[in-house]
């Protein structure tokens, strides 16, 4: 079907996992603060994924096509 779609979705999931576990294992502050940071990172990744997927889906089966301007216009 749409391999580009799945591949990119996988990239985003991967980024989320890297972020979450990276913070959990590497960041050395209080546990309440790491929780907050994990939430922030995941929220950011979800927001970014949302607009990517919206723009991708909108172009998948478009109802209009680009009609170029005349170069003399």
């Amino acid at each position: 079907m749409a391999s580009g779609f799945f591949l990119t979705t996988l990239y985003f999931i991967f980024a989320s996992l890297v972020g979450t576990f990276g913070i959990k294992w590497l960041y050395d502050k209080a546990p309440s603060f790491t929780k907050l940071l994990i939430l922030l990172v995941n929220t950011a990744i979800i927001c970014c994924y949302l607009i990517w997927v919206i723009v991708w889906m909108a172009q998948w089966n478009p109802l209009v096509v680009p009609i170029l301007k005349n170069p003399n216009e």
Partner: protein
């Protein structure tokens, strides 16, 4: 489970401190250094003059006034105080007071003397000038007079030889000398601006019987009375008679003309001039010495001024706080009450012990928790990164004690929504550089005092950083770099219909029916570069951005309603869960959640259904056949079901909660009727009556307002999110206009000057309009979306902020 930081405010406790009198001052000082206790005012009905430490506060106020006086005088003298590093001895307040009053009296004396000397100096200068100029008059007048007399005498002697002259004439002429009237004169200086009216009034007052001779002074002189430089003239008025003298004197006084005596004889004139000159020299030396002494005194004060000011300010604050404590009847100890975070208990106890030790008191301070029904203050432990976002949320309303804090999500969604409206990675990079500049100079700017605008920009440096990073991301998604699309993620997915294998440059049908999409895959990341500049760009991007706004809006609003569920669970309010949260989710989901699903289905299937039509006719004629607008099987049935759910949800939100509250209240009253006598408010500190009032009418109206607000708000808030589309369209269009009509137009010419002007105009327009105005605009609208559309789903925002008594937060306004 450890709770997430910032999600709910810190747990606070009301504490009571019983402090022995001798350690009271030290205790409060150490607590202020710690900065974790907010004192309650236990003497609210006492006026400032009735309080215990009113005298101390007054003394501190006096000292602060003296310090301000020193600062003013230092500034007036034009010195910059160089603070010597603080000598670490704790300066005693009483010693300081004595020292300050000594210094003040000394300084006042020096200043008064200097004033007097200056005045004398300027008077002498004026006298000197009068002597010089008036001397010139007199000598020239004398010369003329002797000249005229000689001619007269010659004329007289000449006529003696004529015998035919009448005898009377001779007699008259001979008696003339004895009848000469003595003229009086007054000499002085008058301001040049008043010279003309002065002359006029003199003329009128003496009926013309006066002679005024004036000479201007080249440089302005310092007026003795006002101390400023004024342009003056020297005048000499000649008049006859005593009455005229009086009039002239009065007129001189009225005009502020300084009169100086001028001796007639020439020898006395020169002697006086020498005298005046020597006195002027002496005076100048004395004046210089006086100024030098004053500067010395001020510099010595200046070494310690900062330190003393800080000390006095702190002491005043400590005494203000001590005034808030109540004195125990036996007069041996003070009682303090305040709020502190539970986590700070150990630190506070440590500070209390240290204070008791330092003050050598036998009895330690007693520290105990109190139970109260009063609402505690809201305290979020923020660092410099999260603090800016929390301030944004607090600006609308401080969170109620321990309710869910929208600030947690705001940290990400606010810059994100900004970026949706700002999307251009070129502009994003410039914003990023600006934020880097602020962060690079963080330490320097932190200690400086910046102007208002710079202060705000610096306070929001982390916000700007996140905004710029997200803007770069959305810039890639919208494929705009100063409105120019790039092919970073591969070639466009569109090609010419006629010859699909080559680029569409020589394509004829491209300008009539348009390109065609090659294959199934859309452009892998972001907006296809073929769209920019095409004729059908706007219909496509408008549709895309509007639907994106709706989807983002419905998502954020649902997150808001979920937060209200978490709040209800935290406060154990199951009524809110079942009779507010559930119907709200059902209502929003069945209408706008369904719309979102339709959008996604339409995108995935490429159907030509008209979603406006679908939504409107879902309400108007739900049972009709959908025809061309059918997107999936069973859509008609689903729509009817959703409509019924939405209609049921409205009375579900409105009716059950007030009725159940009424029943609960009646049950409580019934259970209490025998327990009233035995009830005692033993534990609550505040003796407020807990009015168990329950007005059913009020509760019902409140619920009705809430329901109407939600139902109508569902439509209006969803539409409100369309501003994401509107602002991003405005940004893209402005950017395109500046690029095409300014830069490209100027590059069309071959002249390098025109191209240079084009670049400059483009840069200024981009900076002013897009980077400043659009940034502020998108900032404001993203803020509004958070404050209104997101927060009205769950936020109460009626708490008050935790304001501990801390030396660190003492501002200069407290003086």
């Amino acid at each position: 489970m450890v709770q997430m930081e910032l999600f709910r405010s810190q747990e606070m406790n009301l504490v009571q401190l019983i402090i022995p009198s001798e350690s009271a001052h030290d205790t409060v000082t150490y607590l202020a250094q710690l900065g974790l206790l907010q004192f309650k005012d236990l003497n609210p009905d006492k006026s400032p003059f009735q309080r215990t430490y009113a005298n101390q506060v007054k003394r501190c106020g006096e000292m602060a006034r003296k310090l301000r006086y020193f600062k003013d005088q230092t500034a007036k003298a034009g010195l910059t105080p160089a603070a010597r590093p603080a000598m670490d001895g704790d300066v005693d307040l009483d010693e300081l007071e004595v020292k300050l009053s000594e210094l003040e009296s000394e300084l006042i004396e020096i200043l008064a003397n200097t004033e007097k000397l200056k005045r004398t100096h300027s008077e002498l200068t004026e006298l000197h000038l009068v002597l010089k100029k008036a001397g010139a008059f007199f000598s020239s007048a004398r010369d003329n007079a002797t000249e005229a007399q000689r001619r007269e005498l010659e004329g007289l002697s000449g006529s003696n030889e004529d015998i035919d002259r009448p005898l009377l004439l001779e007699q008259e002429m001979q008696t003339e000398p004895s009848k000469q009237v003595r003229l009086g004169y007054v000499s002085g200086v008058v301001p040049k601006s008043k010279a003309l009216p002065f002359e006029r009034i003199l003329f009128r007052a003496t009926r013309g019987n006066m002679f005024l001779k004036q000479a201007p002074i080249e440089e302005p002189v310092i007026d003795p009375a006002s101390g400023e430089k004024v342009e003056k003239i020297v005048f000499v008025v000649f008049f006859a008679g005593e009455r005229a003298r009086l009039k002239v004197t009065k007129i001189c006084e009225a005009f502020g003309a300084n009169r100086y005596p001028f001796p007639e004889e020439g020898s006395r004139q020169s002697a006086l001039q020498l005298q005046v000159a020597s006195r002027l020299d002496e005076l100048q030396q004395t004046l210089d010495a006086g100024t030098h002494h004053r500067d010395n005194v001020l510099t010595t004060i200046g070494y310690n001024l900062e330190q003393w000011t800080l000390l006095v300010r702190r002491e005043k604050a400590v005494y203000h706080t001590l005034n808030m404590l109540s004195i125990d009847v036996t007069r041996k100890c003070l009682v303090a009450e305040g709020w502190c975070p539970v986590s700070a208990k150990d630190q506070i106890q440590d500070a209390l012990q240290r204070a008791a030790f330092d003050a050598n008191s036998q009895v330690p301070t007693i520290f105990q928790f109190l139970h109260t029904k009063e609402a505690p203050p809201t305290y979020f432990k923020t660092n410099k990164f999260t603090g800016a976002f929390q301030e944004i949320v607090d600006a609308y309303g401080v969170a109620r004690y321990q309710e869910a804090n929208p600030g947690v999500f705001t940290i990400v969604t606010f810059p994100f929504l900004f970026a949706v409206m700002f999307g251009d990675w070129g502009h994003g990079i410039i914003l990023l550089l600006a934020s880097f500049f602020l962060l690079w100079n963080e330490k320097k700017f932190m200690s400086q005092k910046l102007g208002d605008i710079m202060d705000m920009a610096f306070g929001g440096r982390y916000v700007i950083l996140l905004m710029s990073i997200f803007s770069i991301y959305t810039g890639f998604i919208y494929n705009e770099f100063f409105s120019v699309p790039f092919r970073i993620f591969g070639e466009s997915a569109y090609t010419c219909r006629d010859h699909p294998d080559t680029h569409w440059d020589q394509c004829e049908s491209a300008t009539s029916v348009g390109l065609i999409k090659l294959g199934d895959q859309p452009y892998p990341f972001g907006l296809d570069p073929a769209w920019h500049g095409s004729r059908s760009e706007l219909p496509f991007t408008n549709s895309l951005k509007m639907k994106m706004s709706i989807l983002l809006g419905v998502t954020q609003m649902n997150v808001g309603i979920m937060l209200s569920y978490f709040n209800a669970k935290f406060y154990s309010n199951s009524l809110n869960i079942w009779y507010e949260f559930v119907p709200q989710i059902l209502f929003l989901g069945s209408l706008f959640g369904y719309l979102s699903i339709l959008i996604i289905v339409k995108w995935c299937t490429g159907s030509q259904a008209d979603l406006y039509h679908v939504m409107i006719y879902m309400f108007l004629s739900p049972l009709d056949d959908l025809g061309d607008n059918q997107l999936f099987w069973g859509q008609g049935y689903l729509q009817v079901a959703l409509l019924i759910i939405a209609f049921v949800a409205v009375p579900w939100m409105l009716l059950p909660k007030p009725l159940i509250l009424k029943k609960q209240h009646e049950q409580k009253l019934a259970g209490r009727s025998y327990g009233v006598l035995g009830e005692s408010d033993a534990e609550s500190v505040d003796g407020d009556d807990e009015h168990e009032e329950f007005e059913f009418g009020e509760v019902f109206v409140h619920q009705m307002i809430h329901t109407i607000e939600f139902v109508l708000g569902a439509v209006s808030n969803t539409a409100s999110y369309l501003r994401l589309w509107a602002l991003s369209l405005a940004h893209a269009e402005l950017s395109a206009v500046f690029y095409e009509r300014v830069l490209m137009l100027s590059f069309g010419y071959d002249n390098i000057l025109i191209r240079f002007i084009g670049i400059v105009v483009f840069a200024i327009a981009t900076l002013g309009v897009l980077l400043v105005m659009e940034t502020l605009s998108a900032f404001l609208h993203a803020l509004r979306l958070h404050w209104v559309e997101f927060q009205n789903k769950f936020y109460m925002g009626d708490g008050y902020k935790f304001h501990p008594f801390a030396f660190a937060t003492l501002s200069e306004e407290d003086d």
